[in-house]
């Protein structure tokens, strides 16, 4: 059990050391690098201690609280520490010269401390305590790093505080229903609960986790929040921070409530709790990806996509079949790998050119080939095309939805994928392809410390694409631990009775096809490299001053088709609620008029009212 304590104490030490050394930037950088390397080492070594439990010395309300290690939180533990290490390596150079970098490292280690605490907690109290620490530290760092970062961080905070209050209600409600905070105890007693009450309790937990993992109706805080802060922090957030909400959903949906109890909550025939949750997940897939088409800032576009991809994970879990749940969990890992890769590439471009505005960039492939390659691997993964890992988990999810008999959820997934392909191509085209503007002529590729995380993630994205078996082993163990049927897997794909996926063969044939084409290519005579100004422009001479790019409003036609359906319902409801609270508070403030005679009337009316009411009561 010492591993979890080591993890948490190292993370806490990270916070303390960062505060102490906040004056000298260099010491702080290497201290946090050391801390996170240690964290990663311990989280990988932890597989030997799965299953252990540890209790805190003191109790709260008479219940013992503590940590436990299961395969699920081992899986998430690796992801958290791995991504944090890569983010810190990347931000060694990225954060130089930016003000607020001391703040950045301190809060990053505090946030990791919170997240590790959340996933290793074995009862609701520790879960809630570390959940609060996590959401407060996210708010802390999200409010620095950009000019309108505080405003968007404030919006995030309002959602987060509401979610944690709902969670607190859920924690205490379950305590009063089951008499204990511990997950295992709740899991045993869950059967005894009446159906409507289980439904109510489950929806409380699911709603509070959906706010954190940005499910459709409550997702509007994510795009602004993630895109206005430091880009490396955006990578960290969209990579793993929102997936803690998914962890919570997996833990409660399958770990504590169990698939049987959830299936009992059916309204009419097929329409059960999972189907309703699937519909929300479907909306989360479709709406954000088509909003991403409109964005002309790279970070906002990717933030909208991390909302969309969250929908894939949720719909995988909502499908309920072993394949679907495996697909959902695997997609968490895949998404983390390729979205962090993409945001690192965007950060590299921002580091060199100073802007992420898609209308101003272009042609950077000539100057930054490694970042281009990183972005290419990332977008192929994000779009879910075969050689990369995104395809494998999407394939699981599709099969689960189709064979599970949810055609319209499958169609939502297809629409989501197409939306992703469109907006993802716009990202790589506007940034790396097209004419290189004059002002970026002397842009150089990023240094080694920023390239290393990119190379590692590229290997992960391609490796998992061709050999998904590497991660499927862990996921199968999780499914068994959660009491679900595991998916029969092999190193290069899966073999089920009704169909087989062999990614090795697919990639091999693809390489074969490329080889044949290479031979045909060599048949022709030698290629002649020409500069970008030697281009067909209906006879006109191209010169350096005229920007001869097609970046602005890349999908104008699609926007014409979609515009009538974009009613901005979400923004209007939010303004409505905000307006309502303002109006109510304005009205109530007016009660305290400041004139003494009104106060006198208040006292007398209160006196009379008390008499009337108490007369009945006594």
């Amino acid at each position: 059990m010492s591993i979890v304590l080591n993890l948490l104490s190292i993370a806490l030490a990270g916070v303390v050391l960062n505060v102490l050394f906040s004056k000298s930037k260099i010491v702080q950088k290497y201290v946090s690098l050391l801390i996170f390397a240690g964290l990663t080492y311990f989280s990988f070594v932890m597989y030997s201690q799965v299953g252990e439990h540890f209790d805190f010395p003191f109790q709260i309300a008479g219940q013992s609280i503590g940590f436990t290690i299961t395969w699920l939180n081992y899986y998430f533990g690796i992801m958290i520490t791995g991504i944090t290490l890569l983010t810190v390596i990347f931000s060694l150079k990225y954060m130089e010269g930016k003000d607020g970098s001391t703040h950045y490292y301190t809060v990053l280690s505090l946030k990791t401390f919170g997240m590790l605490g959340v996933i290793f907690s074995s009862d609701l109290i520790t879960f809630f305590v570390f959940w609060e620490i996590m959401s407060w530290s996210t708010f802390g760092l999200m409010s620095t790093g950009g000019k309108d970062a505080p405003k968007s961080a404030f919006k995030y905070f309002v959602f987060a505080i509401t979610a944690s209050m709902i969670l607190m209600a859920g924690v205490v409600l379950s305590y009063s229903l089951f008499g204990s905070f511990d997950f295992a105890v709740i899991h045993d007693k869950i059967g005894s609960l009446s159906l409507p009450m289980t439904g109510f309790l489950l929806s409380i937990f699911i709603v509070s986790f959906s706010v954190e993992s940005a499910v459709f109706p409550v997702h509007s805080w994510l795009p602004d929040g993630y895109s206005n802060t430091f880009t490396t922090f955006t990578a960290y957030l969209s990579g793993i921070s929102t997936r803690i909400g998914i962890y919570g959903i997996i833990l409660f949906l399958f770990g504590i409530f169990g698939i049987q109890t959830v299936d009992k909550l059916s309204i009419i025939g097929k329409i059960n709790f999972r189907y309703v949750f699937g519909v929300f997940a479907a909306l989360t897939m479709v709406v954000p990806t088509f909003t991403a088409l409109y964005q002309h800032d790279a970070k906002k576009l990717i933030a909208w996509h991390s909302v969309g991809q969250g929908g894939y994970m949720l719909i995988g879990l909502a499908s309920g079949s072993a394949l679907g749940i495996a697909g959902g969990m695997f997609h968490v890992l895949n998404h983390m790998a390729y979205v962090v890769l993409i945001v690192f590439a965007i950060a590299a471009v921002e580091h060199r050119t100073g802007t992420t505005n898609l209308n101003k960039l272009g042609g950077l492939i000539k100057k930054m080939p490694v970042s281009y390659l990183a972005l290419l691997f990332g977008i192929i993964g994000l779009a879910g095309l075969p050689p990369m890992n995104g395809f494998v988990s999407k394939w699981f999810i599709y099969r689960a939805l189709i064979l599970g008999g949810y055609p319209f959820l499958a169609i939502a997934a297809v629409i989501g994928t197409l939306g992703t392909i469109l907006s993802v191509y716009k990202l790589i085209h506007n940034m790396f392809l097209g004419q290189l503007p004059e002002r970026y002529n002397n842009v150089k590729e990023v240094g080694f410390s920023m390239q290393l995380p990119m190379w590692i993630l590229m290997i992960v994205v391609l490796g998992l694409g061709i050999f998904p078996g590497a991660a499927m082993g862990l996921i199968a163990k999780i499914q068994v631990a959660l009491g679900l049927t595991a998916v029969p897997y092999s190193l290069h794909g899966i073999q089920t009775a009704s169909g087989q996926l062999n990614m090795l063969v697919v990639s091999a044939v693809f390489i074969g096809g490329i080889f044949v084409t290479w031979i045909i290519y060599l048949l022709g005579s030698r290629r002649k490299h020409v500069s970008q100004y030697n281009n067909y422009a209906a006879g006109n001479f191209l010169d350096k001053k005229v920007a001869y790019n097609f970046n602005y409003e890349f999908y104008a036609a699609m926007e014409h088709v979609i515009d009538p359906y974009r009613k901005k319902i979400i923004q209007r409801t939010e303004q409505g609620i905000a307006g309502l609270t303002d109006a109510v508070s304005e009205y109530i403030r007016r009660i305290y008029t400041g004139m003494i005679n009104t106060y006198g009337i208040y006292v007398i009316t209160a006196f009379i009212v008390t008499i009337i009411i108490l007369k009945e009561l006594i």
Binding site: L385, P386, W395, Y425, L433, S498, Y536, Y548
Partner: protein, 296 residues
């Protein structure tokens, strides 16, 4: 042993069939315009001339890799689509894999054309991707409908299920709505006239092919030839009961292609948003109603 033979000769056979079909299409359209039209083997000449060009303009390493991805992706799809007598790879990947592999050539071309830094190319690619979003949704919906009926996503099993029922078993006959929706979507997938906005010569100088010349354009034409055959074979396997022998297969290919060509020869060219609206207003509802029939 014959698997290896099939692997070597299948691309050549399909290339020849595809190129003759393209030659036939140009003659067919010429005949409609009351002129003789080029000889059947015209496309061979074109491809040969392009491969024989002395200068081949390339704008960067991505331009070349994109060409490899383009044809490589189509060959990959070709191997996974079952053809009479050869379905060795079908067991390793089902229709979902095929649906995604179809997108690799599109992405490869998009990256290559992006690298050529010509706005005509970029406009062409953005139109092509919008069209893709337009026609792909109904097409996949029809496939999902079939997969739900037979509880399998493997194209080869779907084909066998249809052949079991004889003519009545064909997809087009048993599920007419899905068949028609897929036919209209196929028109878009092949880039035939009403949905040909991405290569409009007059507006954007043949869109993606603006900067492609010499052997690059040659390989693109090879890919176009094989691609047409592969996409038609997908439709045949799903809706026309696949083919048992090669004669039936070629007849079905040409009949289906002639139907599409006749539509192509008559229609003008949709604007991009009209094309996408058309695709989402006609075939998509058809497919959805088809699926509703299947469910209830």
């Amino acid at each position: 042993m014959n698997v290896v033979l099939w692997i070597i000769f299948l691309p050549i056979i399909l290339f020849v069939i595809g190129t003759f079909m393209l030659g036939y299409s140009r003659k067919f359209i010429a005949r409609i315009e009351r002129r003789y039209g080029p000889p059947i083997q015209q496309v061979f000449y074109d491809i040969f001339k392009l491969m024989n060009k002395k200068t081949n303009i390339s704008h960067g390493w991505m331009h070349d890799i994109a060409i490899l991805m383009l044809l490589g992706g189509t060959l990959l799809t070709m191997y996974f689509v079952p053809v009479p007598g050869f379905h060795f790879f079908a067991q390793y990947g089902d229709m979902l894999v095929i649906m995604y592999i179809l997108l690799i050539p599109a992405l490869g071309m998009a990256l290559g054309v992006g690298e050529t830094a010509n706005p005509n190319g970029s406009i062409g690619i953005s139109r092509a991707l919008m069209m893709l979003a337009g026609y792909d949704i109904p097409f996949v919906l029809t496939f999902i409908g079939f997969a739900m009926i037979n509880h399998t996503t493997s194209m080869y099993d779907l084909m066998l299920a249809q052949q079991a029922g004889g003519i009545a078993g064909w997809g087009l006959i048993s599920q007419p709505l899905l068949g028609i929706a897929a036919l209209i979507a196929l028109q878009g997938m092949l880039g035939e006239k009403p949905f040909e906005v991405m290569v409009a010569p007059h507006e954007i100088a043949t869109g993606p092919m603006t900067e492609m010349g010499g052997k690059y354009l040659g390989i693109m034409m090879i890919q176009h030839a094989i691609g047409i055959v592969v996409e038609l074979t997908i439709y045949i396997n799903l809706f026309l009961g696949g083919a048992v022998n090669w004669f039936e297969y070629i007849v079905k290919l040409f009949v289906l292609f002639t139907m599409l060509l006749s539509v192509n020869a008559v229609f003008g060219r949709f604007r991009t948003d009209d094309a996408v609206r058309f695709m989402w207003k006609i075939p998509l509802p058809l497919a959805i109603i088809g699926i509703l029939f299947i469910i209830f």
